[in-house]
Structures are given as C-alpha cells and as structure tokens.
Symmetry: C2
Subunit: 332 residues, 2 copies
C-alpha cells in the first residue's frame, strides 16, 4: 500500500473541501471535519478520511441533508431528544450534548435519544465530550444488517459499537469504543483493500461458512466478538440504539437504505451519569487509586491509551495514496 | 456426582431453615430464599443451594447482618440510594426497586446505588423485576480480585457480571446475566468439585500461566471473555459497581474481607429506563418485530430463553447430594 504523509491541517483542509463542495453547509462541514481529523489524529484510520467517499456519496444521492438544522428538546427533565433533520450525526450530537450534560449534572443521570440522523463516525468523540465535563458517558448505535447473532447464519445486527468514557479530572478520560463485532466492518474492508487475511471467527461468507477472506465476509456477514456473551452485548446495543430511541433497527435500515455507500438513517442512544452526585465527593480519588492498581499490572493497558498517545503527535499521518486521490477527485 | 431430586418446595424449606437457624430474621430469610429458589427453578445451580454454605458462613462469622434493615432514600429525583445496613443484597434490592421504577416512569431514566451490602446471587432477579414494570433494566456488581485484565497476569477485577433486561409486554422479558469472566467462578468451582477440565483461556494459575485445571484457576485467576473487548466490559462493570456507586472495588474487598467464604461487602449499580417515555408509544410493537426476525434465524437463541423454559417445569430439581447433606448439617 502506497501512503502519503498529510499533516492534520492538510487532513482538515481536504475533508473541508470534500464536504463543502458536495452540499454541506458550514456548520455541518465543521462538525464532520472534527470527527475526521480527530480520527486521523488518534490513529483510527477506519474512521478518518476513509469515510469521506461514503459521506460524499450520501450527500450526492440526496439521502442526507447537508444543511441539516438539528433541533434539541426535552421530553422530560432527564430525556434530551434531538431530531437530526436527516443530516449526519455530528452536528446533532454537538447541539444535544450540552443539554444532556446539564440534565445529568442536575439530576445525576440523563439520556439522549438522537433520531433522523446518519452516523458514520467513531463514538468516542461524544463519550469523551461527556467525560470531559466530569460525567460518565455511554453511547451506542446500530447500522445495517452486517452481523449474525452467535449460533446463527443470517445477518441481523449492525457491527453495533459501544463506547464508554470515564472522567478523570486533570487527565484524558478512560474511553473505549469498540465494535461488538469480532472486527469492525471498516477494518474488514481495509483488510480486503490491502489484500490481508483475517482470523477465522471474524465472520461467515454469504452461505454462512467460516472464512478468513475479508472480501467474502464483506459480502457475507460478521460474527460478534466473544461468542454468545459478545452476541448478548451486540443485542443490547441494537435494542438501546433502535428500540429505546425509536429509530430503525439494522434490519429496517437494510430494507430502506438506498445503498449509496453512505450511512443509513439511524438513531443514537447516549447516557450521562454524575459520579459526583451518585457516589459523592471523593469519587475521583477513589477511582484513581483503582487506576493506579490497574497500571501497575504488567501487560495490562487501559482502553484508549494508545489513542491518547497518538493524539500527542504532530507528525504527518500516513494516508493511503489512492484514497487521497479519490477524495481530491470528489472535490472538483 | 450423586444427586437427589428436590421439589422447589423442598428447596425453599431447606434454604429457609438454613438461613433462619443461622441468624437471619424473617424478612431477610424470605428475600434470600426467593433468590435461591428462583435460581434452582431456572436451572442456575451455581446461584442456588450451592451458595447456601457461603451465606451461612458469612452469618456465622458476623460479617453479615442477618437482621439488616435497608434504608431507601432519594439523593435527587433520579437517584435512589439504598443503604443495606450491612446485610445481604436481596432485601435491599426489593426495597429499593419500587422507588427506582417510579423515578424511571416519571423522568424516563433513574439510577440506584446500593451500598453496605453483600451480593452472592444472580442479577437477573433484579433486572427482570424492573423489566416486568415495562422498563429497561441494567445491573452490575463487582466482587473480589478474581480476574486479570486482558494481557495482564494479576487479578484485579471480580468476575463482574452484567445483567440487562428488556421488557416484552405479555411475555417474559429478554434478560441476560453474564459474568464478564470467560467462566463464572461458581462454574469453575463446580468443575473443580466434579473433576472436569475447563477450556484453555478460562484462566491462569497463580504464576500467571494458562491452564485447563479449574482448581489451579480457582487459586490463580480467571480471564475475561472475548479478549481485550471483554476486558473493557469487565472494566466498565468494575467502575460502575464500585466507582460510580461509591463502594469497594474488588481489590479493596480483597483487602478488607475476612475470607469466611461468604460474599464481601460491595455495592450494586442499577439503571432503569422507560422506553415508553424515550421512544414513545408503539415501542413494544416495533421491538417485537425485531424479536420476530431474531427468532426466525436458525441456530440463534435469545439470551435467557433456556432459563425461562426451565422455569415452566415443576419437576424436582437434581441437586448434588453432598451439598444437601452439608446444608442439612448447617441447620442443626
């Protein structure tokens, strides 16, 4: 694979051009660019520029509203509802999170249901946004029917990521953001593009047989991580992100999406909890004593630690050269 | 292994005698017996009579207050706090859940922090209790340092179960209740007792080496299910059950517990969400359409389905004969 080095400023510039020249207004462009730049900054290539062609496809097909004006309202003092106006999710999230955080700081817990949105980014940006306010954050989305439940041979779940962030005053939050699939579809697609095999157990081909060929899995289905237990977590995500929020399940998105390569319409479930109100003063010191124990174990590594290390580097990021060419072509 | 058949009435009678003759008052006995009978009824032997000797040990050593009088209060309209008065958890839960459910029905979401309790039972009784009121329920506890984080070779986490229940009006809830360990310590202990090996990956011996000997794992440590992803879920459980609730982390319980074989002091985190308020009317039909798709997949099985099938049987349950003798001896 040939790569080119792009500074984060160049990533920002390229993504900004791609979105703004394909129907995104300034506010939506800025919100999308923050997720793309943040992903490349943190070393998560599968959520960075790699997503831009899909975003653009969804704008060009008219599936997604590039000038979406998301509306935030309170259903109860503890339920924030965000109607995404059929846009991409990032602007909806940026508008909703302040209300979510305020409710959680007042009541100790609040949820946010985002609907009429199209999610194509990582989830840690929103859970870290919550944790940076001293709150525990959780978020999940479903997607398209890409994954079979454990034991089954038909795709029903999305890759159904779950993100959880824990506030650590004065430090970056502990945050994980993981597909409940054995491997994220973005990673499978990158493996297929780059000609790598994937471990057996990652997924099934279209006939429901185990395979190590990422291309066969991409046209077949993924499997959950961790067998029946991981499958239960994937089911929880699907129920929260669709059933609890009142948006499309992955199977519904599979039936209604126009298959333009961009993200289908879907919802997002978010939860924020105040440890200050729930556990009371002293919670942070109590938890730091735990993290100290964790860090003292040889070989153990807090989730998200690598991402936070990558974040500190201002070196150019190595981006697939074909991808950069493809995005430049989308800007004309 | 020699077993004896006991009807659920006989299980109830035996457990009632064991608790009431070892220092439990009537209310605490009744709450404990409900969890023991419910576990045997549902086929979860590792949470049934198997636990009685541990409960009795904790009563006899004076670690646990058999006449605990748990107190329920509201910290905010959305935070229910239950002080367990140093008793076993079931009575604290039974007293707190009505307030939790009422808050969730009013505000859409509520959390419950239970402290000064000793949890030795399954978690599905409390999450199903929530789901039977039309609410989404989540619960988790930590325990003693029995499990190493993925990549590490020192125990820090408990087996850290997570339970999640989804309301299905007119049907039993979908409910899972799983250790985030590759295998629950109760199952490992039963395998050791019965002379069975366990799969490689279940845990490490005391020197941090992989082994299939359940006895070596019981005196060593468990591993999380599903590698780093399962380890992240175990970490989330530890942080919620101890850090968010303001009770002991597993490592703290390991340092303070008197090692009488009964459960250490610990907290419980519970969450309840109203899909009626969050998603709005029609949520149940929307979700049932999803469950129909799930059930149509050959080989796929909803979590908890086997437990609900076992529940319907009124046949005697086959109980380890030595265990029954041991419990009878505790009643004299």
């Amino acid at each position: 694979m040939t790569t080119v080095g792009l500074t984060l400023e160049q990533v920002e510039e390229l993504a900004t051009r791609a979105f703004s020249q394909n129907g995104c207004d300034a506010e939506n462009t800025a919100a999308l660019v923050r997720t793309v730049v943040g992903a490349e900054r943190d070393g998560s290539h599968s959520h960075g520029l790699f997503r831009v062609p899909g975003y653009v496809a969804a704008l060009r097909s008219g599936k997604v509203n590039g000038s979406a004006n998301p509306r935030v309202s309170l259903k109860t003092p503890a339920i924030v509802s965000v109607h995404g106006d059929n846009g991409f999710t990032p602007l909806a999230i940026e508008r909703g999170v302040p209300a979510l955080a305020e409710a959680a700081k007042t009541l100790g817990v609040a949820v946010m249901a985002t609907t009429h949105t199209h999610h194509f980014a990582a989830l840690w940006p929103e859970t870290e946004m919550i944790a940076e306010q001293g709150l525990i954050g959780m978020a999940c989305v479903c997607y398209m029917p890409y994954m079979a439940p454990a034991g089954g041979n038909k795709a029903l779940f999305g890759t159904n990521p779950l993100s959880f962030a824990w506030p650590r005053p004065g430090k970056p939050p502990m945050a994980f953001d993981m597909a409940t699939a054995a491997m994220a579809m973005g990673e499978v697609q990158i493996a297929a593009r780059d000609g790598h095999k994937v471990p057996i157990g990652t997924g099934l081909d279209a006939e429901g047989r185990l395979t190590d060929d990422p291309g066969a899995i991409a046209s077949g289905m993924l499997l959950p991580f961790g067998g029946h237990k991981g499958s239960a977590i994937a089911l929880m995500v699907e129920l929260l992100a669709a059933g609890a929020v009142g948006e499309q399940f992955s199977f519904e998105a599979g039936e209604t999406d126009n298959k333009d390569g961009g993200p289908p319409r879907g919802g997002e479930f978010m939860l924020a909890i105040s440890p200050e109100l729930l556990a009371g003063p002293g919670w942070a010191e109590h938890c730091e004593a735990f993290f100290e124990r964790f860090d003292a174990i040889e070989g153990a590594r807090l989730p998200g630690a690598r991402r936070h290390e990558n974040r500190l580097s201002d070196a150019p990021r190595q981006i697939n050269a074909d991808l950069v060419e493809r995005i430049r072509a989308l800007c004309d």
